[in-house]
Symmetry: C2
Subunit: 169 residues, 2 copies
């Protein structure tokens, strides 16, 4: 039996969001043990014209909830970008997890061929549901997750690939 | 019609490998215009205990060819890690593309439930084909692709998200 759109999206996103939450906990503990303000990490970035850590985490959750909502055909929950702490980022991740957990596999049936339209300030992107998942959601989701991880590694937070992939990966 | 294992893997990997090749070209041109030896970028890394750029690119191709071979049930082509230039990395990407292009969708039928065993020096991982693709291949592939991109951005190579996602993304 081939992959369903639900199986190809929701469990994957939930698994990675759990890994991200654990990574944030490790970063916070590391800041405490090295005696610097963890808020410094929230504003850290890899290049002056790349987003800081806090924005990378916000976009990870935006990509996940946007995917779940669009493929299930429901409204995208709006999370204002007002976080200023690790604790508030954890709450945002948790809200995203609860939203995705509330979606049912039946809502995703037929979503592979559904028209998905993404409107940005300077362009509009049109996808089928399948292309949206494969060529937009997953590469973007992992891009921002990896960049968040890389910002922490660049700043000396002790993490390894197993933290990114999760247990058994 | 749900996703086939072929559609969920080969076209996705080929698209991203094409993007990576274009990113390498931009990095090489940028080194020339800034008048430094591009080989410096090959050894650049984001943390002392992370792999350098050249290894990130090698792992991207390893992950892609390993995925294609394991899911199609054929031998994994062996590429020795002997590259020392952008040109040789491009040849490795091109060999990976040719290998993936030679695989047929029919070879992937039933691969979602095939047993996949990955042997590492200190552990052995067991997956179904579907879990291997979703929880190992795609996160790893995008991890190393994004880290390669981030190393270049950290070193001032002018790239944007569109280079990573490819045209229209």
């Amino acid at each position: 039996m081939p992959l369903s759109m639900y199986q190809a999206s929701v469990p994957v996103l939930l698994h990675a969001l759990g890994n991200l939450s654990a990574i944030l906990n490790k970063a916070l503990l590391n800041a405490e043990s090295r005696k610097f303000d963890a808020a410094v990490l929230l504003q850290a970035r890899l290049a002056p014209d790349m987003f800081p850590f806090i924005r990378q985490v916000q976009i990870v959750t935006d990509t996940a909830k946007g995917c779940g909502a669009r493929l299930a055909g429901v409204d995208i929950p709006s999370f204002p970008d007002t976080e200023t702490s690790f604790d508030e980022l954890q709450q945002r991740i948790a809200k995203t997890v609860v939203f995705l957990q509330g979606l049912q596999p039946a809502q995703f049936e037929g979503s592979e061929s559904r028209d998905i339209v993404l409107k940005f300030p300077h362009q509009t992107l049109n996808f089928t549901g399948q292309d949206y998942l494969q060529f937009f959601v997953l590469p973007n989701f992992y891009f921002h997750l990896t960049t968040a991880y890389a910002i922490l590694r660049h700043n000396g937070v002790p993490l390894g690939k197993v933290d990114y992939l999760g247990g058994g990966g």
